[in-house]
């Protein structure tokens, strides 16, 4: 489990999380990338107190889906697992499911999701 400034997947993940939380962050002391990795996933996914496990899982799914849309639509990332037998829809489903499972572990930190993103998406500077 790493959280590195040398990893574009980790940095892109944090960049998008800052945007999804800009209403909480703006006007406040700047939160650096390293500190962002320490954010609890309950905060990242916007969990309310006493949300049921089903609600948490569905909110994590919504956040994972949103990340996938921004990765591919804005950053134009490709899917790491694309192959002759894995089409784009399957790879998209795999990426969203993996991120969703990770984000639903609400007592863990954002840095635990970085490598999972890296395993499913090809970011700038990576070789497909």
């Amino acid at each position: 489990m790493s959280w590195s400034k040398n990893n574009n997947a980790h940095k892109t993940l944090w960049a998008l999380i800052t945007y999804f939380h800009k209403d909480t962050l703006q006007g406040q002391p700047f939160v650096k990338f390293a500190d962002g990795g320490e954010w609890e996933l309950g905060l990242v996914v916007k969990i309310a107190g006493n949300d049921s496990p089903e609600m948490i899982k569905d909110k994590a799914g919504a956040m994972a889906t949103l990340l996938d849309e921004f990765f591919t639509g804005v950053f134009k990332t490709k899917y790491e697992k694309l192959s002759a037998s894995v089409d784009e829809n399957t790879a998209r489903g795999d990426g969203i499911a993996a991120m969703s499972n990770a984000l639903a572990q609400t007592d863990k930190k954002l840095k635990t999701v970085g490598d999972i993103v890296d395993e499913h998406y090809v970011f700038k500077g990576e070789v497909e």
Binding site: Y19, Q28, D51, M55, K59, T90, N101, I116, K124
Partner: protein, 393 residues
């Protein structure tokens, strides 16, 4: 890496043992606060999970103090043994760090549909038992239907197993295991592929991730992407079939569930939701439950199937603009009702519940929480599924 960690663990235990056999010297030179602080600081440099190192050091020095207070180090070994048990074997935090969050198992589990976690569970007499929470969630290949310009629609199949087990089933207050297969469908807002200029601004921020100006430019560019879309709509529905059971698999409910979940985030500051940053999420479910003859409900004379409905509303809203600090407000409302419940259940007031929870929190944690209402038997939310099972069968 693990070998070095084990070596350090061995080294600490060796030092502890040596100190046991050098009691007089230990008693003479022992400057506890300084030695403890020095040892805890050393934990930073050891290639050992820090939580484990801290627990070892704390156990050792606490045992020294406890035995010293009795004017003798004769019971040091017992104190050390008890402290190690309390601080390591009874600490889910330390066990999770050592077993699941560091080393080989951590990397194996990271991208796995299986999650494992130790959980210290409170039981009677202020005691705790160590439970193992497990969850396996596997979504099979997702199929997308004809995508429109604004929405994606999909369907898929999923398999889930989850539960908590303890060494002895009778000691498990969260004695609940659930397994289900699901057909799921959904639809959500699609982000169109953006022009190169937008990608360049976004990538510039990623390349300069701790640059505040680049962050502001990125946020502005993303606002230009999201505003025309109005908001992010996420909708999911499904039918699930599965069973709920206990650790010994005697009592069992088969359950068929239909559910729907939706979340909406407005990206338009001109709307009520957008201006507040308020994100509502809602979930509804209808269960058909068939208990077997071993369930307490059946043993009490009622093994008929029954239906239960549940609804949940969850709100999340930033309040930084009012408080001047990074803070948010949340509200959760959960309701549960057994349909056509018999008189015994109704008279015991177990056929319905409502629970409202208000919280104020921030990146550093929870500041304030208020809950009214209750779940059956006044147990709390994480146990609600277990409650549904335990109360109604």
């Amino acid at each position: 890496m693990m070998n070095k960690g084990l070596f350090m663990l061995f080294k600490i235990l060796l030092i502890s043992t040596l100190l046991l056999f050098t009691k007089p010297l230990f008693a003479q030179v022992f400057d506890e606060p300084t030695a403890r602080a020095k040892a805890l600081k050393k934990c930073d440099s050891y290639n050992l999970p820090k939580l484990l190192c801290n627990a070892l050091v704390t156990s050792f020095f606490d045992a020294a103090i406890e035995s010293n207070e009795q004017g003798s180090l004769d019971n040091f070994e017992d104190y050390l043994s008890n402290n190690l048990k309390d601080n390591i074997l009874k600490s889910d935090e330390v066990l999770n760090e050592v077993v699941f969050n560091s080393g080989l198992l951590s990397s194996k589990l990271e991208d796995s549909p299986l999650s494992l976690k130790f959980k210290a569970i409170d039981v009677e007499d202020d005691d705790t038992v160590m439970g193992l929470e497990f969850a396996y969630n596997r979504e099979f290949a997702r199929n997308y239907l004809n995508a429109s310009k604004t929405m994606r629609r999909y369907y898929t199949f999923e398999f889930d197993v989850s539960g908590t087990v303890t060494q002895k089933a009778e000691e498990n207050p969260r004695d609940f295991i659930e397994a289900k297969a699901s057909f799921l469908g959904g639809a959500y807002t699609r982000i169109p592929t953006q022009p190169k200029m937008v990608t360049d601004i976004a990538q510039y921020y990623v390349d300069n991730i701790d640059d505040e100006v680049a962050q502001k430019a990125f946020w502005n560019a993303m606002d230009d992407v999201t505003k025309p879309l109005g908001g992010f709509t996420y909708f999911k529905y499904g039918i699930e079939a599965g069973f709920e059971t206990e650790q010994d698999f005697d009592a069992k409910n088969t359950v068929i569930t239909a559910f729907a979940f939706t979340q909406y985030e407005s990206w338009d500051d001109g709307t009520f939701l957008g201006s507040l940053g308020l994100i509502p999420s809602a979930r509804f479910a209808l269960d058909e439950v068939n208990p077997n003859s071993e369930t307490p409900r059946a043993l009490a004379g009622d093994n008929s199937s029954y239906r239960r409905v549940s609804g949940e509303l969850s709100l999340w809203m930033p309040i930084s603009q009012y408080t001047g600090k990074s803070m948010f407000f949340t509200f959760n409302y959960r309701t549960y009702r057994e349909l056509s419940a018999n008189d015994v259940i109704k008279n015991a007031n177990l056929d319905k519940y409502h629970l409202r929870t208000y919280t104020i929190g921030g990146p550093s944690g929870l500041y304030l929480s208020y809950t009214s209402g209750s779940l059956p038997f006044d147990l709390q939310s994480q146990q609600s599924v277990e409650l549904g099972f335990k109360t109604y069968f």
